[in-house]
Amino acid sequence: MLAVNELLQQVANGLAKGSVYALIAVGYTMVYGVLELINFAHGEVFMLGAYFGYWPARWLGYMPDSGEKPQVPAPVALLLTFGAMAACALIGVLVERLAYRPLRNAGRLSALITAIGISVLMQNLALVVFHADSKDFPRMIDQQSVVLGPVELPNTKLLIIGVTALMMAGLFWMVRYTRTGAAMRACSHSMKTASLMGVNVNRIISLTFAIGSAMAAVAGVLISLDQPRLTPLMGLMPGLKAFVAAVLGGIGSIPGAVAGGILLGVVESVVGGVAGTTYSEAVAFVLLILILLVRPSGLFGKSGREKV
């Protein structure tokens, strides 16, 4: 039997894990909300985000195991993150422009297959360009333990949770209170009506991809704080799990994606603590099938009715 303290500790670890899932899941859910497309390549954008943070750091001479510059100072780290966000946003927009836009009216299956193709392409391009061996991200902050009541968390995990909360607050504000956000919501209601109301639908879709990809880039840099090991395949599992998180929360709903991500992270950590980490890998998928059976529209989703 697990002690209460240990359980709380796992919940706290799960919060950090879930934050990363939530950041990725937001990208899935936004794209699905507007285009009804499962953007399978999103997990790879997350992976690229980590690499786009890593390479400039390396060019600047920061090496994890060298004595001279083992640690990236905070302002540089911030710049690296912004750079990775911009690069990933560009990639997201390009992918939409080149691969998804021509297929927008071609049926959902074609789009889904293309998305899978893009995902495999990005994974293997990364393998060709970055090579299969893992890279170590240089440290960005001094790792220390912080005691918070009954639980003890490394400050890296706290930073992950904090940055995620900040990003989410910004996103909510944008979607809720700006004109662009209103246009995005209009598009997810009905793209056709929105375009009749003067919304530039193509611009909004590009923007959706840009924002989602930038969030994934942040997730990629943040995960490097906690697990500084980068491989070209690192996006596959977090990508799939974040997608599960988006479904869990109700795909198309941004608060749902956040809630789903956090929930998945916590459940995974708790199960990992009780039954061992190998079983925690299956948690996401068992949860996925259960939620699809019991409530396919997810926690926050609206259930649609099929029209004849």
């Binding site: 009804e36 499962i38 691969a99 021509p102 297929l103 071609a106 049926g107 959902r108 299956l109 074609s110 889904l112 297959i113 293309t114 899978i116 193709g117 893009i118 495999v120 392409l121 994974q123 293997n124 391009l125 393998l127 060709v128 299969a132 009905s190 793209m191 056709k192 070209p232 596959l236 799939l240 997608f243 599960v244 479904v247 190998t278 079983y279 890998e281 299956a282 996401a284 998928f285 068992v286 996925l288 099938i289 699809l292 059976l293 396919p296 649609g304 099929e306 029209k307 004849v308």
Partner: protein, 370 residues
């Protein structure tokens, strides 16, 4: 009945002939040919679920894994080394002979079919994208379960599987699968599958028991995927959970998409092309020293195909003499030199109705909220 047995005998004979040919040629190419046979099994069986019935499944590798592990469990784990006889002896005497692995193979197939039943019943309520991700989840759960099951080697995989698979068995089973599927397509059951793909609601209104038919499609596809997995296991002699990951399911789907979702001949051609092509690209990989370039080309093919010819090579048509004839413009006039205009007009009507039955697009997916 007699005719079916005759055809079965013919398949066995052809497979045996092929086996002899493969024995005599270069081992490298024989290996590729055998892998082609297994790919054909996979693609044709998935085509029943994805192409004919229109239920987009991303978990085919999961069924394969079950078939591979169950059959390998019977031939590998349930045997011991008998000192007196100086050889391995299985618990079931039947499995001693090399042909005895067929029962093990069938057991693997049945286990996979049972899994198809188990996954088919709950996921019936899901459509389109949701079904796709539920089956994806199923595939992942299978591999994770195997990873945690130390009796079959866990993450390290199961090795030392006897090399019972050969050209004969692979192509016999591939032939049987193709034959069954061909008959299935022409049966009431096959028509029901296509009706469900085209419009599930309308099919139900027409009195098709959609739930049953969809489960049956899953069970059928899963059975042959299990057989393919068992054959692959006894061919490679080593299997691990990673062999049957998400990418494997994707590979089979790419085969289908290349050939044309819903076309049996398309599935076969897609399977052969995408088994041979990566092997050729493997040479490119070693000569350029860039591992991964193989899958880059592979995925580019998929994307470009979707952009420029989403219906695949054949669409939903079958490669047949009739199709070939309709593609040859010169031959039309030969038949009726006296009244060429009238004849070609009739021909073009025929061609039109033929193409009308084979739409140029992918099967329509269920529309969402819009």
């Amino acid at each position: 009945m007699l005719r079916t047995l005759g055809i079965l005998a013919l398949i066995c004979a052809a497979a045996f002939g092929l086996h002899l040919v493969l024995d005599s040629i270069d081992a490298y190419w024989a290996r590729i040919a055998n892998l082609c046979g297994i790919s054909i099994l996979l693609a044709v069986s998935l085509n029943v679920i994805n192409g004919l019935c229109g239920q987009f499944s991303l978990g085919h590798a999961g069924f394969m894994a079950i078939g591979a592990y169950v059959s390998a469990f019977f031939t590998t784990t349930l045997r011991y080394f008998d000192d007196a006889a100086g050889q391995y002896v299985t618990v079931l005497p039947l499995l001693d002979q090399s042909w005895g692995f067929v029962p093990a193979l069938l057991l693997g197939g049945f286990a996979a079919a049972a899994a198809g039943l188990v996954i088919g019943i709950p996921t019936l309520r899901l459509r389109g994208d949701y079904l796709a991700i539920a089956t994806l989840g199923f595939g992942e759960i299978v591999t994770i379960m195997i990873t945690n099951f130390s009796k079959v080697g866990g993450a390290n995989g199961l090795s030392g599987i006897p090399a019972y698979s050969n050209g004969f068995w692979i192509f016999t089973f591939a032939g049987i699968c193709v034959l069954f599927t061909l008959h299935l397509q022409r049966s009431t059951f096959g028509r029901a599958l296509i009706a469900i793909r085209e419009n599930e609601l309308a099919a139900e209104v027409m009195g098709i028991r959609t739930a049953r038919i969809k489960i049956a499609a899953f069970v059928y596809g899963a059975f042959f995927a299990g057989i393919a997995g068992g054959l692959l296991g006894h061919f490679l002699q080593t299997i691990s959970p990673a062999t049957f990951g998400f990418m494997k399911s994707i590979e089979v789907i790419v085969m289908l998409v290349l050939g044309g979702l819903g076309s049996l001949t398309g599935a076969i051609i897609g399977a052969v092309t995408l088994t041979v092509l990566p092997e050729l690209l493997r040479d490119v990989e070693t000569s350029t020293g860039m591992p991964g370039i193989r899958m880059v080309v592979y995925s580019l093919v998929l994307i470009l195909l979707m952009l420029f010819r989403p219906q695949g090579i054949f669409g939903q048509r079958e490669l047949s003499l009739r199709l070939l004839r309709s593609l040859l413009p010169g031959r039309r006039k030969e038949g009726a030199p006296s009244a060429p205009a009238a004849f070609t007009a009739q021909q073009s009507v025929e061609a039109k109705t033929f193409f009308a039955r084979a739409p140029q697009t992918l099967p329509p997916q269920n529309e969402g909220k819009k």
